[in-house]
């Protein structure tokens, strides 16, 4: 089934559709339970967990505090190592850069290791316009691509599918495939089909987990080996990353790597960890002849400019927030209609796409705080969401830089209601009159009060308010004393 969505503006209908799909809900619940357990077992010592989170948060905050300098240093050191560095302000610029490299090499096929940033800039779509095919080589992404679908999770793109559905997808799209529910056999099928493509591809494209300013090197975290194939077999390697992924020192990487893998899949370490520091040197027998690094802004500097919002950029893309989010668990990644779904998606997408497009998303949280509780770099996601809700409803204060789409959710009616609420809550006589009438007129409360009563009875007011009962109680006390 294709779950592709029309965008975050359609969150409501997309969420509703997802909720009405029992198979999808079962797949997500099962997958999230599994991932929650995995994370729990990786952090079996709560004291150690807190230490790792403290350290990871401190590293990310230090690196972000000097982001501009670190990016310059990264550029200098990468260039010195022979990596060509490109800066892209937005998706169009990033696609142009990649297109120019591809056209210079007359590329027909780009093989991709998993890269959410390439999803963010819609690389596949843009390259297709130029007659260049992009083939996903991460198993999850490969499955999703066969379906003409998009990832529903940032590290597990096909998590919305169970093995039966994967078998169905293969049966539908691959020649000579015999349906099977054997997961190893399914994986082997994908691996075999992809193998020759690594050799055929003109360019390998990857994301970046950590870009090390000190050494000018790019770190890639992966389990399947396809990342290594993408970045060593084709003669050109293009890495693309958001500007926030830079770290200062090589020694910053191990703690963040540990926090990332434990939080994401509960692994102490992944099967592969790649450090790419240059193209192939003379005398070396493998590796690409050219390595390019594309540094993408695409709205990230907007988050960077505000001290609170900047914490959004601490993210190391582990996905733990979505794995623990009760909303994501119910509706799945596609409902969000954004590249980054779940809690992190709700706070990064407004910067990438504007609040006008994402105003529904920022309300789609019960503020339960499960995301912040597990975030390995301690991003205060609910607090940032609260700020975004304020920005969606109100124009900026005099000393603030406006966000794209600021005040786009301003509603005269709701604003009036909230002003009314504030007036009543600051005027005790009015508040008391309100609560008193609520209890006295409770017989008039309708049985159907809109969405609330589609699965609940309407709330029952008490006979008297606490204020009244206390008055009576104090009176009685006065009489007896």
């Amino acid at each position: 089934m294709n779950h592709s969505s029309k965008g975050p503006e359609h969150f409501h209908s997309q969420a509703k559709a997802a909720l009405g799909d029992p198979q999808l809900r079962q797949n997500f619940r099962g997958a999230m339970d599994y991932l929650q357990d995995k994370r729990k077992s990786a952090f079996h010592d709560p004291v150690e967990e807190e230490k790792i989170r403290d350290l990871s948060e401190a590293i990310r905050q230090r690196c972000l505090s000097k982001l501009p300098q670190l990016l310059e240093l990264l550029d200098t050191n990468c260039t010195r190592n022979g990596i060509e560095v490109h800066w892209a302000e937005n998706s169009d610029e990033a696609n142009d850069i990649i297109a120019r490299i591809a056209q210079r090499h007359e590329a027909k096929l780009i093989i991709k290791g998993k890269s959410m940033v390439s999803e963010e800039i819609e690389l596949n779509h843009e390259m297709a316009k130029l007659g260049i095919e992009c083939l996903e080589s991460d198993m999850g992404e490969y499955i999703v691509q066969l379906d003409g679908d998009k990832p529903s999770h940032i590290i597990m793109p096909a998590i919305h599918k169970n093995k039966q559905e994967v078998s169905d997808t293969f049966e539908h799209h691959l020649d000579n495939f015999t349906p099977t529910l054997d997961v190893d056999e399914l994986i082997q099928t994908g691996r075999t089909r992809l193998r020759q493509k690594f050799y055929d591809a003109d360019i390998g494209l990857s994301g970046v987990n950590f870009a090390v300013a000190e050494t000018g090197s790019l770190c890639l975290v992966e389990n399947e080996g396809n990342g290594r194939m993408c970045t060593t077999v084709p003669k050109v390697h293009i890495a693309i990353t958001g500007i926030e992924k830079v770290v200062e020192f090589l020694s910053d990487v191990p703690p963040l790597y540990s926090a990332l893998t434990r939080s994401a899949t509960g692994q102490a370490i992944t099967t592969y960890f790649n450090i790419i520091s240059s193209p192939r040197k003379s005398g070396e027998r493998d590796g690409p002849l050219e390595v390019h690094l594309v540094l993408l802004d695409n709205g990230r500097t907007q988050a960077y400019q505000d001290a609170d919002m900047r914490k959004t950029l601490q993210c190391i893309r582990c996905g733990a927030c979505m794995n623990h989010c009760p909303v994501y668990t119910r509706v799945g990644g596609h409902a969000y209609g954004t590249v980054y779904p779940g809690p992190i998606g709700q706070i990064i997408s407004p910067h990438l796409m504007g609040l006008d497009k994402t105003k529904e998303l920022v309300t789609a949280s019960s503020f339960c705080g499960a995301c912040a509780e597990v975030c390995p770099v301690r991003i205060p996601i609910p607090d940032i969401l609260q700020r975004l809700r304020t920005a969606a409803k109100n124009p900026p204060e005099a000393d603030m830089i406006p966000m794209t789409g600021q005040a786009s959710a301003a509603s005269t009616l709701e604003s009036l209601a909230m002003k009314g609420f504030a007036f009543a809550a600051t005027t005790p006589t009015l508040y008391h009159a309100g609560t008193w009438s609520a209890t006295k007129l409770k017989g008039l409360m309708p049985d159907n009060i809109g969405p609330w009563t589609q699965c609940r009875t309407s709330p029952k007011f008490a006979d008297n308010t606490l204020h009244q009962l206390i008055k009576t109680r104090n009176k009685k006390k006065g009489e007896t004393s």
């Binding site: 409501h12 969420a15 509703k16 909720l19 809900r25 009760p326 909303v327 119910r330 509706v331 309300t363 789609a364 949280s365 019960s366 503020f367 339960c368 705080g369 499960a370 912040a372 509780e373 607090d383 609260q386 975004l388 809700r389 304020t390 920005a391 969606a392 409803k393 109100n394 959710a409 709701e414 604003s415 909230m418 002003k419 609420f421 504030a422 809550a425 600051t426 005790p428 508040y431 609560t435 809109g450 969405p451 609330w452 009563t453 589609q454 699965c455 609940r456 009875t457 309407s458 709330p459 007011f461 008490a462 008297n464 308010t465 606490l466 204020h467 009244q468 009962l469 206390i470 008055k471």
Partner: protein, 250 residues
């Protein structure tokens, strides 16, 4: 970790607007519990609501107005005991955030530090000892997410229930998961909220506990409404009423 003061002589009592309208008996029961600890309990009649509905909807200015108005009522340096973890979280954590960089920040911080949720106060300040006088029963507890994650009071509520000799505490599946209330969330995203409360009520009733208790009336409005809609007999009540009843104070 929070540092708790010595037991005072007098406390302020904050009923919360939901208890005020939906379960005022719980307010009286909480007052009785506190009085049994030898405390003088002051209920300021002008108190209304903590301002959370405006705050969580993005109406910061309105929330700040309400916050200031409430804080102005509690002039003496006594602890303010709040009957809900969620409102407690608002007044203990978010009032500070509202005043970040404001000239009144220091004063507000002082107020915030005086705010305690009921169970937290009974355990950590009163060091209450409960003597269970009730018949054998079983109970399941639901704490609001704010109570759990902002105030850490799922711990103190559990400690109180564990003091009751004849009460078996049952733990539901997905204990820490949100019930789907989230204030305006339940109205803005009714379908997601419905999916959440249906799961929550199922997990609670699967424990086969005789009683559901919570210190948060927001969650109880949601959960009780769903139970009643489903025609189930399990019904949540405020933990203050349950405790008072168990120790024979009622």
């Amino acid at each position: 970790m929070r540092i708790y003061p010595a037991k005072p002589k007098t406390v302020y009592f904050y009923g919360t607007c939901l208890v005020d309208m939906f379960d005022p008996e719980a307010g009286l029961d909480a007052i009785s519990l506190l009085e049994q600890q030898g405390l003088e309990v002051i209920f300021i009649e002008k108190q209304t609501c903590c301002g959370q509905p405006a705050y969580s909807s993005g109406y910061t200015k309105e929330a700040k107005l309400v916050a200031q108005n409430q804080m102005d009522l509690f002039v003496d340096p006594w602890p303010v005991i709040v009957l809900s973890g969620s409102c407690g979280g608002m007044m203990h954590h978010h009032y500070r955030r509202l005043y970040q960089g404001d000239s009144a920040q220091a004063t507000v911080e002082k107020f915030c530090n005086r705010v305690f949720e009921l169970t937290e106060f009974l355990v950590n300040v009163c060091r209450i000892k409960l003597e269970d006088k009730g018949d054998a029963t079983s109970v399941v507890m639901h704490t609001s997410c704010a109570a759990r994650r902002e105030m850490n009071v799922h711990v103190t509520a559990t400690q109180l229930l564990n003091q009751l000799q004849n009460v078996e505490l049952k733990i539901p599946a997905y204990e820490s998961e949100c019930c789907g209330f989230g204030g305006t969330f339940a109205v803005r995203h009714p379908h997601i909220s419905q999916a959440m409360v249906e799961d929550k009520t199922r997990h609670l009733s699967e424990t086969k506990a005789a009683v559901l208790v919570s210190a948060d009336w927001g969650c109880l409005l949601n959960i009780n409404g769903a139970f009643e809609y489903q025609g189930q007999s399990l019904k949540g009540r405020h933990i203050a009423s349950f405790l008072l009843e168990r120790i024979g104070g009622k």
